[in-house]
Amino acid sequence: MTLEDARRVLGARVLVGGERLDQEVGTVCGSDMMSDVLAFSKDHSILLTGLCNPQVIRTAEMLDIICIIFVRGKKPDDKTLEMAGDAGLVIMETGHRMFSACGMLYEAGLRGGAI
């Protein structure tokens, strides 16, 4: 599955990195707690989160996550989006809530990866 496939599943809107949607997706994680993402993420390619601050971008950057999808229609400010672009990330936004968004991607075949 590619980022474009994941985007279609969620009906998500791309905010940054529309030209990089052909990247393959491995596993996904969903959390609002960056501490946990840092401590438990192994090789995730997508982070689903309802938290919306610059540290979400930094956390993804440090973990080599390639795409952040903001749930519940959250949208970071322009400066944060610019930072995401500099870090080479793809940023999307979906109106679905966390539980539903995770469920839809799981149903489409994506998994959370090893624990």
């Binding site: 707690m33 610059p54 080599d64």
Partner: protein
Amino acid sequence: MAEAITLKYEVSPDDFTRAGEASSDVKNKLKQLGFQPAVVRKVSIALYEGEINMVIHARGGVITVEVSPDFIRMELADVGPGIPDIELAMKEGYSTAPDEIRSLGFGAGMGLSNMKKYTDKMDIQTELGVGTTITMVVNVT
């Protein structure tokens, strides 16, 4: 790279939005220098956890990173309140972070143990009311 280089960063105490800039810069430099992705990842995660701690628990500080072909050595020195009980602070789940930090996505009490997990050597020197200096080494093998 044949010779060691030293990178130095001032970490601003009161700007949470800028926390992580040093770690981001170190990550980019290590990538440019051609270090293996696994090494870059270990350094990035450990350093970022430490940098966030400097901002939320201390009053910022100075990060010095020594990059050599065989190892990356990171030193994080702050003049914050110090850590009263290091053993307790290292425990997963122990955190003194206030709710306001938790609402920003941090304060689960996972940082210090994560720093230990991702590095080959970690040392904490701390004195109450004086500050804390954390040294971490990641070997390049």
